[in-house]
């Protein structure tokens, strides 16, 4: 079943939502939104809405999961059944398990895990509404929730996607642009230290285009 590809960029170089190629979607951030979590954050990036909660550091259960030389970071990325157009099963999908790992690995370099051996830090990311770029918004939200929880960090982690749509390189792809575009490059970094913590690519780009995305 072929879906006709919509025109993603018009003659004047505007995108579907009126943005230019390098424009980000409007960003709205709140921290300390949940009373029961040690730290929490809410991030809205256009129509993508993410809630993140952090617990810990705390005792690891079961005990043998703890590491003798550092804390373990556990992430759960989950999409609410109502976050997408057609109800998503609340059971964790293959994609969510992978994204949980990707988010964890994007956050780990920012934390001083070696300070708190045999403990665990739990990060829960809940996608309330998805419109592209959920992993990037999740990383931003989770890093803010960690800072809100008072967990020592080398730097905050901020993430955004780059990509190629209708032959043009763009930033912060929305869902349609991601689905019908040529490439998607999610990217997370610690801005103060100028270090990259996440770098993925999906699609086709020439090496020069990839460098330009960065």
């Amino acid at each position: 079943m072929a879906v006709e590809k919509p025109k993603l960029i018009d003659e004047e170089g505007r995108r579907l939502d009126g943005r230019g190629p390098a424009d980000l979607r409007p960003l709205h951030i709140e921290v300390d939104v949940l009373a029961n979590a040690d730290g929490s954050a809410y991030v809205e990036q256009g129509n993508t809405k993410i809630l993140a909660a952090v617990y810990g550091p705390k005792e690891v259960h079961p005990r043998h999961l703890g590491l003798p030389d550092r804390a373990i970071l556990r992430c759960r990325y989950h999409m609410a059944p109502f976050s997408v157009e057609h109800r998503k099963s609340p059971a964790p999908s293959r994609r969510e398990i992978e994204l949980s790992k990707v988010i964890r690995e994007a956050l780990e370099p920012a934390l001083f895990l070696e300070y708190y051996p045999r403990t665990a830090i739990d990060v829960f990311v809940e996608v309330l509404q998805a419109d592209g770029g959920t992993r990037c918004a999740s990383i931003t939200a989770a890093s803010l929730a960690l800072a809100d929880a008072g967990i020592p960090m080398r730097d905050l982690v901020a993430a955004v996607a780059a990509g190629k749509v209708d032959g043009i390189l763009v930033l912060d792809l929305s869902d349609v642009e991601d689905k019908h575009g040529e490439a998607d490059v999610p990217f997370a970094m610690m801005p103060g230290l100028n270090r990259i913590t996440l770098f993925q690519m999906d699609g086709v780009l020439t090496p020069d285009e990839l460098k330009e995305c960065v």
Binding site: D38, G39, G56, P57, K58, E59, P68, A71, A110, F112, Y115, Y116, P117, R118, T119, A147, D148, A149, G150, I151, P152, M153, R154, D155, L156, M190, P191, G192, L193
Partner: protein, 238 residues
């Protein structure tokens, strides 16, 4: 040698605070010659030492600290105490009874049971093992009455004040007994419930406004005003 922020300015993790020959204090780390913040908080300068007073933190045990915690488990010869630290603390039975302990003779639940709250002292902690507690000193032991207030541990020094100015003011103005656990758990014991409410409100105010100058005086004024209105008796001798 440059500092990029003012004293008491808000910083977030990863902010470059200073460059040069400075000493990193609390919540600051140094890489090469650059100092970065590791927590959200307010910058503090003391000579060449730069630190950040965290807006929120969790308790990391330090030997010698007085802490207040809840008994969460009873073992064969020890109790597990939740002191709001990353790990549960261990309180050995010998530390409580003060003599060699025979588990077949004494039942631990008769001394302390799950749900009890205790004042204890951190005896040892080295990050790799659970913190060890002791109760063999005056002032330590099971709490029988009073109320518990929780504040974030990084605000405990503010609640105590310079040379104990804040805490002694609170005690003087309200006539209550206050025990501050370094883990951010505070026990208050007052003669009347009204005093207790007022004191808890004052402690919460201190936590919220810990960065504002002249806080001790303003809290003292608040207590005096409320007590004057509440009980109708002027505190003539103060």
């Amino acid at each position: 040698m440059t500092i990029f922020f003012e004293r008491r300015e808000l910083v977030v993790p990863g902010d470059l605070l200073a460059e040069g020959d400075y000493e990193p204090g609390e919540n600051v780390y140094k890489e090469d010659d650059k100092l970065y913040a590791t927590r959200v908080g307010l910058l503090e300068l003391k000579d060449d030492k730069i630190s950040v007073i965290a807006l929120r933190s969790f308790y990391v045990p330090k030997p010698g600290d007085i802490v207040i915690g809840d008994v969460v488990d009873v073992g064969v010869s020890s109790w597990a105490i939740d002191i709001k630290a990353p790990r549960l603390a261990v309180l050995r039975a010998t530390e409580v009874v003060g003599r060699p302990f025979r588990s077949d003779k004494t039942e631990l639940t008769k001394i302390l049971n799950v749900g009890d709250t205790v004042i204890a002292k951190v005896k040892a902690y080295d990050r790799t093992r659970s913190p060890m507690l002791t109760m063999g000193e005056p002032g330590l032991g099971k709490i029988r009455h009073g109320r518990i207030v929780r504040i974030t541990p990084s605000k405990v020094p503010r609640l105590i004040g310079k040379k104990g100015s804040m805490i002694s003011m609170l005690k003087r103005e309200t006539g209550c007994k206050i025990v501050i656990g370094m883990n951010g758990v505070v026990l208050v014991r007052c003669k009347s419930p009204e005093d207790e409410e007022l004191l808890i409100e004052a402690i919460e105010k201190i936590e919220r406004e810990s960065h504002v100058e002249g806080l001790t005086d303003r809290v003292a004024e608040m207590i005096r005003r409320r007590r004057g209105l509440g009980s109708g008796e002027a505190q003539a001798d103060r």
